[in-house]
């Protein structure tokens, strides 16, 4: 891309005489502008890397609805009582102070890809030369019959961290011994593949730690199998015998109706009752990606695997949960990895920076019980039109306690690392 940029720059300098005749204010403009929508693992990383590595040559604006950002990753550990909410909530202050990023707090509601502007909910427009969309996911409420945004105030999804996570914790902590939990797990593809099952582990940990003997956790899953399944099921049997019951679609036969107020999940097999329902519906790319017209019919955004550029618009990059990530799972680690490829290519488009070949990596850690951590990871490269897995690993069944503890400690180190990488 740097070759193209130089060529383009050459064309521009050819118009030097005309530029001299322009008013000073116009000539003083204009550092190239990158606008990043979404300030999570993808967006914060992209904004930081573009601003930092271009050393002021590119004007970077980061748009996010929140003043601060609560990470969805490690929110299960908050649920389990291992972290407080403050420890997973982070400020954008360093991005502004250290790298000169402009942080805009508000909702981006539309993108005019012809005029190259982002429109905010208050009507303001922000122009861009390159746009990075990292909006995360949007929940498809009606993918679960009977569920809705209103019902989520009773039966939280907690799949976007913040008030929903607090609500789920409050309800979990308020359960009496003998009261059950019913989780409806999401269909593929969704944010954080091992997330629902780590959450089950953390909820079981809370029940076990306070000595509840009579409560059960029912997991109603639309998938026939799930991430790290053998590891989770081994862990549940070992740490929480008899507490967790997982039902795949061949057993429950389909979810017919959720009644949040009544606390029931009706399936073909049976009606499951819970004092706490945790309903995680199907997902698609965040609303701004749909509004920008860069999502496909399945609701996610196809990209060029060599650059993270939208398949529908060369001036737009889509990263993180919102993109079609090929073999990469929708995780914070993936989003952070994709952000670096997008940042590099955006810089190469707009300055004389060099673009190296894309490479991606991911590791997902999960906690099953105190000091019992497991992980799955892989390296990826662009191949056959998608981001393809090159090589990977997964924790083994029956690993010794020292290794599992080291894996958990590594995950804590990773959390501090990625937070420093995103916000520091």
């Amino acid at each position: 891309m740097s070759t193209m940029t130089r060529r383009r720059f050459g064309l521009l300098t050819g118009t030097g005489a005309a530029m001299l005749a322009m008013p000073t204010v116009l000539r003083a403009q204009e550092r190239p502008r990158v606008v990043v929508v979404g300030g999570g693992a993808g967006g914060a990383t992209a904004a930081k890397y573009i601003a930092r590595d271009s050393r002021g040559a590119i004007e970077v604006t980061l748009i996010d609805a929140g003043e601060r950002f609560t990470t969805c990753f490690f929110s299960n550990l908050y649920l389990g009582g291992y972290r407080d909410l403050n420890s997973i909530t982070h400020s954008y202050d360093d991005l502004v102070a250290k790298y000169g990023i402009t942080k805009v707090t508000g909702m981006a509601t539309a993108v005019d890809r012809t005029a190259k502007t982002v429109t905010m909910a208050d009507g303001a427009t922000i122009p861009y030369d390159r746009l990075v969309l990292s909006p995360g996911i949007e929940l498809i409420w009606d993918s679960v019959p009977g569920y809705s945004q209103e019902a989520a105030e009773i039966a939280p999804h907690a799949w976007k961290a913040g008030p929903q996570t607090e609500l789920l914790k409050k309800k979990l902590d308020a359960l009496s011994d003998g009261e059950n939990i019913v989780m409806v797990a999401p269909p593929n593809p969704y944010r954080c593949p091992p997330g629902p099952y780590e959450r089950v582990s953390m909820m079981a940990h809370v029940l076990k730690a306070r000595g509840d003997k009579g409560s059960k956790i029912f997991v109603i899953d639309p998938k026939e199998q799930f991430s790290k399944q053998a590891l989770f099921q081994e862990g549940w049997d070992r740490h929480y015998p008899g507490m967790v019951e997982w039902y795949g679609p061949d057993v429950h036969g389909g979810i017919k109706m959720v009644d949040a107020a009544a606390g029931t999940v009706e399936t073909d097999l049976d009606t499951f009752e819970g004092a706490l329902l945790n309903i995680i519906p199907a997902q698609r790319a965040g609303a701004i990606a749909q509004a920008a017209g860069v999502a496909d019919e399945k609701g996610f955004c196809p990209i060029d695997p060599a650059s993270m550029r939208s398949a529908m618009d060369e001036a737009v990059f889509v990263i993180g949960d919102a993109c079609v990530g090929g073999d990469m799972p929708k995780s914070a680690f993936s989003a952070n990895s994709q952000a670096k490829v997008a940042a590099m290519n955006a810089r190469a488009d707009l300055t004389d920076a060099k673009a190296f070949p894309a490479r991606y990596s991911n590791t997902c850690w999960s906690l099953i019980e105190t000091d019992d951590g497991v992980k799955v990871g892989a390296q990826y490269a662009p191949q056959d039109g998608k981001i393809a897995s090159v090589e990977g690993f997964v924790s083994q069944l029956g690993e010794n306690a020292d290794l599992r503890k080291a894996t958990y400690e590594e995950s804590v180190g990773w959390y501090d690392g990625i937070i420093a990488d995103m916000f520091g």
Partner: protein
């Protein structure tokens, strides 16, 4: 005659290695890995390292390893001497160090990439 002597000596030592290999395969495996590490370290340190390329590749490292050099769960790598980083990565690559994330990372790195990373992390200052 001189050549013959060297030839005989080489043949003798080769026979000894074969006996050693058959007698204790695990230790022989370690010995092979150790010599692969030594060769890789020498080969890599002789390369012209490109820290700018290392900075790009290091994007994969700093998701876990903080550039401030702070540790906790994940060891610090910022500011380490290049020779140390080259050796550590080579040991992961050839199985003398055991962490599946690092093995995966190291296995995929070519010599020039290891050299670039080592040069980059050696030059970054701890904040």
């Amino acid at each position: 005659m001189v050549f013959c002597n060297i030839g005989r000596a080489l043949a003798a030592s080769f026979t000894a290695m074969l006996v050693f290999t058959v007698a204790s395969p695990a230790r022989a495996g370690d010995a092979t890995a150790a010599s692969q590490v030594e060769e890789a370290v020498v080969r890599t340190l002789l390369l012209d390292a490109d820290p700018a390329y290392g900075e790009y590749l290091g994007g994969e490292c700093v998701t876990c390893h903080r550039t401030s050099g702070a540790s906790g769960g994940v060891p610090p790598i910022a500011g380490l001497p290049a020779g140390y980083t080259v050796r550590a990565l080579s040991e992961y690559k050839f199985g003398l160090r055991d962490n599946n994330v690092m093995k995966l990372m190291a296995t995929r790195l070519a010599d020039d990439e290891v050299a670039a990373l080592a040069a980059y992390f050696a030059q970054i200052r701890k904040d």
